[in-house]
């Protein structure tokens, strides 16, 4: 499994309130979440995420368990996320929605092409290559299926 896209670099400790603010949670309209994603961090960011690989600092997705954060990123077209560590609830939510996550400390600049290769276990940007912490076999299966709901349908 291989993912590539342009880098969108973000700082450490980006919390799920910053990914999607509490004031937008009470709806079933997923377009609201993808349109408002990162609004309190940078209102321009939502339009730059289609096909992007987010390269963030440590502890990405900390705070609230709100799965709307991962839904918003998926809806906005994020192809994958690289960070040295993820908050664990966000980690599970993203995998369950089929968003590829790579644990690695990857120095890079916004706009650079990033490649995540789960088969060889590396992530690269420019001349920089890093090993990624392996995902469990089950998480890889869920990712490959495109998320937990799809995985469930294939294995019922």
């Amino acid at each position: 499994m291989r993912v590539k896209g342009h880098a969108v670099c973000l700082p450490a400790d980006v919390d799920t309130d910053l990914i999607i603010a509490g004031r937008y949670l009470r709806t079933k309209d997923r377009n609201v979440w993808s349109a408002r994603v990162f609004e309190d961090l940078d209102p321009e960011l939502a339009g730059k995420l289609r096909g992007a690989v987010i390269v963030a600092g440590k502890n990405f997705g900390c705070g609230s368990s709100r799965e709307q954060a991962a839904v918003a990123l998926k809806g906005a077209g994020v192809a994958g996320i690289v960070a040295p560590t993820f908050a664990r609830i966000f980690f599970r939510n993203a995998i369950n929605l089929g968003i590829p996550l790579a644990e690695a400390d990857l120095p890079c600049h916004s706009g650079e092409q990033v490649i995540i290769d789960f088969t060889s276990g590396i992530v690269e940007a420019g001349s920089c290559i890093r090993n990624i912490t392996p995902l469990s076999p089950r998480m890889l299966e869920i990712l490959a299926a495109g998320g937990l709901v799809e995985h469930w349908r294939q294995h019922r």
Binding site: D13, D15, D17, L18, A21, G22, R23, L25, R26, T27, K28, D40, L41, K58, N59, C62, G63, S64, S65, R66, E67, Q68, A70, V71, T85, F86, A87, R88, I89, F90, R92, N93, N96, L97, S136, R138, G147, L148, V149, W152, R153, R156
Partner: protein
């Protein structure tokens, strides 16, 4: 020796396990997406309806037609599928699960990050998202990676005007916002028998602010006595001396009143350093500090005085509110000028019941002070109940116990 997490999950740290869940719950916020995903699974029935709770606490009563419609659908679903249901005014999900429902040794999963609060019972209690919860509704089980554990050694007794919240903020600051990511915390040491259950809830509640899966206490005589008051007979858990990946020690006599300054929970200042910052709002409540012990502490400080800034008080549950009414402290709180709102989350997440405006400052007993958390352009400072109460009387940040 095994950690409490290893004992309950039945495997060594690092292993992946599939476990049946003893209790699972959602609230009005996370329940909607859980229900949507559960429908997408097309599995027919809820596997173990008697283990599933739906507890309304986040935006209660509904604030507009959209919220009302979402709540109507979830309420009808819960009632028609024989799930345990608590409607508006019942209280905060973690508090309700802690009023005689969760027992030591159980595996408890909630669709809310502060599910770690219930680690106070010696349960493995952790938060998940909506999709994981939908799968639990469908199967009754989920998977975990058994966490390594960090030992938080507590010695001595809290003194002066320091309370459990100050200790909680202090350990969060020592570990940092990701210091315990993928780990569990275990609170141990000679101070534990002197900590009430309400204080333990506060300490466990903030575990997730360090990235931890849960924050656990070994059930002891205090735990069993508390559960006995709800008619539940339980046994203490034998404490072990397990291998911790990290050990942190705290002398409780050294803990002083502190405030977490925005926008990070792990950035602390002594209250004394922040005295004089004018307050637009004080909020006392939440799954961190909305219990009877907290309201009692508030009443003892403000009794006979008048608050000088708008002050919102949200009891953690109807039982807490009823007890406050029965003992008379509710009257003290109202007479001092506080606005008492229905048991629930109140303005903590910036959606209802006390959202702050641009440039406003709120001193809150809640657990998060992230950017825009309680309202766009507002700042949230986090403190203990004593600090919040003294500051409400002064209208500005004030050291508790001082001459106001």
């Amino acid at each position: 020796m095994t950690t409490l997490s290893e004992r309950i999950l039945g495997a060594p740290a690092g292993a992946y396990v599939d476990c049946m869940v003893d209790q699972a719950y959602v609230h009005d916020g996370t329940g909607v997406l859980t229900l949507e995903t559960w429908k997408a699974l097309e599995c027919g029935e809820i596997a173990f309806p008697d283990r599933i709770s739906v507890l309304f606490d986040h935006i209660i009563p509904a604030n507009n037609s959209i919220t009302a419609d979402l709540q109507r659908e979830l309420r009808n679903f819960a009632c028609s599928h024989d799930l345990c249901f608590s409607d508006i005014g019942g209280g905060i999900c973690h508090q309700l699960m802690g009023e005689g429902k969760v027992l030591p040794g159980e595996i408890v999963v909630g669709a809310d990050s502060h599910t770690c609060t219930l680690g106070a019972f010696g349960a493995f209690a952790t938060g998940v998202g909506a999709t994981d919860m939908a799968a639990i509704w469908a199967t009754g089980s989920t998977w975990f990676r058994v966490p390594e554990s960090i030992g938080i050694f507590l010695s001595g007794r809290l003194c002066g005007d320091a309370e459990a919240k100050d200790l909680a903020l202090t350990y969060v600051s020592r570990l940092g916002m990701d210091g315990a990511t993928y780990h569990a915390l275990e609170f141990v040491g000679d101070a534990i028998p002197h900590l009430s259950m309400d204080s333990r809830f506060t300490l466990s509640n903030l575990a997730v602010e360090t990235g931890a899966k849960t924050g656990m206490f070994y059930a002891d005589a205090v735990t069993c006595g508390y559960l006995e008051s709800f008619g539940k007979t339980t046994k203490p858990q034998e404490p072990a001396s397990p291998h911790y990946t990290q050990e942190l020690g705290f002398e409780l006599e050294d803990i002083v009143p502190v405030i977490a300054v925005p926008p990070r929970v792990d950035t602390l200042r002594p209250v004394a350093d922040l005295c004089g910052i004018p307050l637009d709002q004080v909020f006392i409540g939440t799954c961190t500090n909305g219990r009877y012990e907290d309201l009692s502490r508030l009443a003892s400080i403000i009794r006979g005085g008048k608050v000088r800034t708008r002050t919102i008080v949200a009891p953690a549950s109807r039982a807490v509110l009823e007890e406050a009414a029965r003992t008379g402290i509710l009257s003290d709180i109202i007479t001092a000028g506080c606005t008492v709102i229905p048991p629930g989350c109140g303005p903590c997440l910036g959606a209802h019941m006390g959202v702050i405006g641009e440039g406003e400052v709120c001193l809150s007993t809640s657990n998060r002070n992230f950017i825009n958390r309680m309202g766009i352009g507002g700042d949230v400072y986090l403190s203990s109940v004593s600090t919040a109460a003294a500051s409400a009387l002064a209208g500005e940040i004030t050291v508790p116990g001082g001459n106001v």
